[in-house]
Symmetry: none
Subunit: 215 residues, 4 copies
Amino acid sequence: MQHARPLPGFLVQRYHGWRATTWSENSAWYRRLAEEGQRPRAMVISCCDSRVHVTSIFGADQGEFFIHRNIANLVPPHAPDGQQHGTSAAIEYAVNALKVAHLIVVGHSRCGGVQGCHDMCSGKAPELEQASSFVGRWMDLLRPGYERVKDLPEDEQLTALEKQAVLISLENLMTFPFVASAVESGDMTLHGLWNDIGEGRLEQYDPKVGRFVPI
Amino acid sequence: MQHARPLPGFLVQRYHGWRATTWSENSAWYRRLAEEGQRPRAMVISCCDSRVHVTSIFGADQGEFFIHRNIANLVPPHAPDGQQHGTSAAIEYAVNALKVAHLIVVGHSRCGGVQGCHDMCSGKAPELEQASSFVGRWMDLLRPGYERVKDLPEDEQLTALEKQAVLISLENLMTFPFVASAVESGDMTLHGLWNDIGEGRLEQYDPKVGRFVPI
Amino acid sequence: MQHARPLPGFLVQRYHGWRATTWSENSAWYRRLAEEGQRPRAMVISCCDSRVHVTSIFGADQGEFFIHRNIANLVPPHAPDGQQHGTSAAIEYAVNALKVAHLIVVGHSRCGGVQGCHDMCSGKAPELEQASSFVGRWMDLLRPGYERVKDLPEDEQLTALEKQAVLISLENLMTFPFVASAVESGDMTLHGLWNDIGEGRLEQYDPKVGRFVPI
Amino acid sequence: MQHARPLPGFLVQRYHGWRATTWSENSAWYRRLAEEGQRPRAMVISCCDSRVHVTSIFGADQGEFFIHRNIANLVPPHAPDGQQHGTSAAIEYAVNALKVAHLIVVGHSRCGGVQGCHDMCSGKAPELEQASSFVGRWMDLLRPGYERVKDLPEDEQLTALEKQAVLISLENLMTFPFVASAVESGDMTLHGLWNDIGEGRLEQYDPKVGRFVPI
């Protein structure tokens, strides 16, 4: 692989700083986690967005959260078709192998993927409709959400669609037999969150009132 | 979505603590990131494993890294077939929309996904061969790596396969026209890392010597 | 003391979060408790086990419970021999100095200390019989309990022994003259609880029926 | 055990509230902890004082901390004499059976036990000198600390003695061969903290400067 390049110096420097401090102060625990394996309490599905780090928000210890991050924190429906489904693989591993107690989907404000979906569905981004657009095809998962929000006042649609990304993921999660089974037996609980990145506010979906409410 | 449950109390408490400290102390920056959008310098592709948090290793600031996490930090080859490819969508967004300057793939020791691939390829895990196994099908991506390591001494194979997961991902990245183009024009560089989670050691692939060397 | 090390960063972060929220919201009360001293209503004796936090179960306010935690929530018999008795010191302080109104012993399921006692008494853990085994000598306190449960069906013995740990502690408490006196004068009441940690169920000893009953 | 009494109604009520909320929302995790056993990252030794709850300060999840609480957070020196040593048993279990990565001693301001030690050592509490005083004999462990602080200005002595309770405990911990061995091999780290309960401030002992410094 002749294209690999040396890591930029500022990252090398920070890594050495981390190893001399965080790793060094926690080495006993890192070693034990390495030897005994992880036993995370929860799986988190959140966005790749550089502004949303759930480890920071939840003061996560090493070993606490199994984290999958993709564009717009989306979960596709169950489709055991022999194709490659990275998100489904992560969920299968978390639920069946790690037996996590909670599965938490975290959406957020100003999501570029959700914006793209909105542009595509409202006809403003024909390039996303092409078969070759990976982002477009991925955001197809959120099309049912667009149908639910398109009649809202225009300035409410994006936030509503970001929250739909969380809800549709939770709905799709329940199409996985092993997820439905773990939820129904009480072995695992589902949680839907939405983070306002500017205000640092966290809301969670409350099925009793049918909407997201501040925590 | 009637299955959503309230967030466990200890996470609620930690979130409020985060908001009163980390968010509060950085609110000007969070707000600016919200208004102006993210402009991450690098995309990182790493594993979902709860023991590998690249934000910690690299002291990442909010807004610095666009992070995709999947099982075994794998990238599939370019396949514009109109299907859903979450990893490819994340790469496309990072390279074409965000124009990141670096694309860093981070593998690690004691990887459960890589272990599963090794078990599957060596005939010890027939259940992973089934079409319905999401983990099995996802780990198909690493089969070529197994071919390259299967004749090594047995106690070296797993680590070697973990490193192959990084190299094969880098190779597959170059099959994406927009990645190859950005690499060839010098707009983006590729990097392959492997983290020993117990020892906190980071190694990077050096094409001059054809192997991973400590940083 | 040259071996002291800095606190791991995730705990530093969580502490700052606590101070900015819980402490800050309760600072008037914390300050008053600091100035006027504690006046807890009850003493609780429970196990060190990380899965049993009575402050959580009883929604304890700061200042409410004086809590001693040791292996298997055991109380030794009164022995004023001039030696160091940490549990007896805690009881003496709670009863004579703080004049608590209730003394509550809380046992629990899956107790590692009780399991060790059972292994030792049934001949399966000879290493615990050695004079140098602190756990073994501490669990000697529960040997009389083993005699009472050893003829039960095998799958009932551990739970029965966990409950004996509570009952023997209550019996030993009554050998302390100041405890007996406070109980007899009505200044303090004794309570025996057992917590099923998996099911979150709490049972209390009811002398009328001579066994633990659900609360 | 005919002296056991029913739990006061307000505690019954709070327990039911806890079970309907905290337990219910976390039942999957509680059940898993029950089945698989605890794997706490750290042992904490803190005071019985009702005003110091480390689970609150550190936003502890169930299963994170193995907690021993006694009067004045004291650790006696290693004494394998076949007698009952509750604190030593807890330490032995945490280090040898649970293999915790950190052992954290937490002292605090306004400590009644430390005040008693100071009164006793300065001749103001002759009743604590009696062989039958459990608190007096327990606080004998801190006499060496009194010698180190008795020449300080009078208004500094109590705080200094509270901090000595932490340091002497750390020193005594190192007399346990299994503690010394784990510390020297890097398998466990020691930490000394002191909490100002009124101000909610946390300080840690820094061996480089030879005193406690704010965190």
